[in-house]
């Protein structure tokens, strides 16, 4: 097996074995979904979609935000500040391998998370959609979630382990709430409706909602997501190559 695939496999395993993954990516979204799906009656319409479908998308996006932020931020921070990254620099490992394997592993982990959410939706709450919609929604969410992978890696470059953990948790909850994943923006005051339009969380979910609601996917959704993705990647690249020579006294 090539070095890249081996590292990718290990990164996937590291995610799956992690307790934080279980809590933030599976337990929270699935738990909230089952708790709140009956809140407005499952046949209530939100944004032209049945609430049980609408909220399934909300919680799926909430799950992948969790994977991207909580997994990556802390891991990157530890590797960067506690010797591992330096050590790896002394090996012949290609410079880009660390970040490309992490991103590719996140795609797999997101697919697992979305898969589990959809299974819960379909079999526990009897959400029904044509196969094409399931697949389109799933794929959009899995790949759109790369924005949060990039954000997680960026946060991991900002500070040490504690700082990364705190910052990742704050951002995780803030962008989830502000993006209308917990409470649909249709019932929020106008200020929050406008705020949501600036959130990558809302924009990603809106792509999936459009696919379900037979609406055309809005270019503005794709554009805002792409802008965030490019912004986060550039920032992370800039932060990670900043000269940072700390004098160590042996």
């Amino acid at each position: 097996m090539s070095s890249w695939f081996l590292e990718w496999r290990i990164e996937v395993l590291r995610n799956v074995r992690n307790r934080r993954f279980f809590i933030f990516t599976l337990l929270f979204p699935v738990g909230f979904y089952l708790l709140y799906v009956h809140l407005y009656g499952r046949h209530a319409q939100v944004g032209g979609i049945e609430w049980s479908k609408y909220f399934l998308i909300s919680m799926s996006v909430f799950g992948v935000v969790g994977t991207g932020l909580n997994g990556n931020a802390v891991r990157v921070a530890i590797e960067r500040t506690q010797g591992w990254t330096s050590w790896m620099l002394t090996t012949p490992r290609p410079a880009t391998q660390a970040v490309t394997t992490k991103i590719a592993a996140n795609v797999v982990v997101n697919a697992i998370a979305i898969g589990i959410m959809f299974v819960v939706g379909a079999f526990v709450e009897h959400v029904q959609m044509p196969a094409g919609e399931w697949i389109a929604c799933g794929a959009a969410t899995v790949f759109g979630a790369l924005v949060f992978t990039a954000l997680g890696i960026l946060i991991g470059h900002v500070g040490g382990r504690e700082a990364a953990q705190i910052l990742a948790s704050i951002v995780y909850f803030l962008i989830s709430i502000a993006g209308g994943l917990w409470i649909p923006i249709q019932i929020l005051p106008p200020f929050f409706q406008h705020l949501a339009l600036w959130m990558p969380t809302y924009r990603l979910a809106d792509i999936a909602w459009s696919l379900i609601g037979q609406r055309t996917v809005q270019w503005s959704d794709v554009a805002v997501l792409l802008a965030y993705l490019i912004g986060f990647v550039l920032l992370a690249a800039w932060v990670s190559t900043r000269p940072r020579e700390v004098r160590s006294v042996a």
């Binding site: 395993l13 590291r14 074995r17 010797g83 591992w84 620099l89 090996t91 012949p92 160590s248």
Partner: protein, 307 residues
């Protein structure tokens, strides 16, 4: 074959006004075991960082087997143990080994690596859950994964107990001392350096203050010791009155005299018929030379300032 494993030429590293490393030059021949020693803050870690390509010299150049340290060709021949490394979470020992092996063109077998580090029984365990000493041994196995021609070990025995330290050096000796590998190490345990190193480079204040074989270093320190067991009729005054005595250390009845002329001290003891037995003349341990040479350097600095 390249004639030098490591070549350090007029290397300096400044952090603001501080000279962490100040015009250091040395070559290391392949197959040599070199101990880089010095008091805290001497610049050992900074120098090693530059040899590993983790830091850039302010001036001067470093080559590893003729390559720049950041070149892949250099890194393929390099195995490293850094001082403080947190291993990645949720990864098993054998997975880490497979991971490291995958970086190198001619890696050593996993079983061989496990056995070399004495961690065969830990292969299925999660790496971060091992004890400090076990993690250190695992890191040694990882450093050896690529069958390196140059092994750089920065304080390799930190966190190990006495027993694992001894086992570590034993295995290191058998796997490194075959003349194929070059080894550069730092350690706070001077007796460890003394037992493995062919060559000692002593660093202080960022400069090389001594460089040579163990015997040469001890000779440069110029210390000679006359030791004996003092009998009941031998008084401290009699010992203090001996010629050429620089310092006397008593441990129970055991007396150790530091002198630059051991023959004259011995002759005086015999001629004055002191109550003494079990004579021994030595150059002392590396630690004595280390202390003498670093203090000597302090003296030079002080004189330089007062002038």
């Amino acid at each position: 074959m390249v004639s030098t494993a490591i070549s350090v030429e007029h290397v300096s590293k400044r952090f603001g006004a501080v000279h962490a490393v100040d015009d250091v030059t040395f070559d290391v021949a392949p197959g040599t075991i070199v101990a880089l020693l010095g008091p805290n803050g001497a610049g050992k870690t900074t120098l090693i960082s530059m040899i590993l390509g983790l830091a850039q010299p302010t001036t001067g150049s470093v080559r590893v087997f003729g390559h720049r340290p950041r070149d892949r060709a250099a890194r393929e021949q390099l195995g490293v143990m850094l001082q403080h490394v947190t291993l990645p979470q949720s990864v098993k020992v054998k997975e880490l080994l497979a991971w490291f092996r995958s970086f190198y063109p001619h890696p050593l077998a996993v079983d061989h690596l496990l056995q070399m580090a004495g961690i065969e029984h830990l292969a299925e365990r999660e790496a971060v859950k091992l004890s400090g000493g076990e993690q250190r041994r695992l890191q040694f196995a990882l450093a050896m994964a690529g069958d390196p021609a140059l092994l750089v070990l920065d304080e390799p025995t930190t966190g190990m107990d006495v027993e694992s330290r001894r086992a570590f050096w034993d295995s290191l000796r058998s796997f490194v001392h075959d003349g194929r590998r070059t080894l550069l190490l730092t350690t706070h345990h001077l007796e460890e350096a003394e037992s493995v190193a062919d060559r000692i480079i002593l660093l202080k204040g960022g400069r090389v203050i001594a460089d040579g074989s163990l015997a040469e270093i001890k000779a440069q320190a110029g210390n000679r010791y006359v030791s004996f067991i003092a009998g009941p009729r031998c008084s401290n005054e009699q010992i203090a009155e001996l010629p050429h005595v620089r310092q006397v250390r008593y441990s129970g009845r055991h007396v150790r005299i530091e002198t630059d002329r051991p023959d004259d001290v011995l002759r005086a003891i015999i001629l004055r018929d002191l109550d003494a037995s079990s004579f021994e003349v030595s150059q002392g341990a590396l630690e004595d030379a280390f202390v003498a040479l670093t203090e000597l350097d302090d003296g030079v600095e002080r004189r330089g300032v007062s002038r």
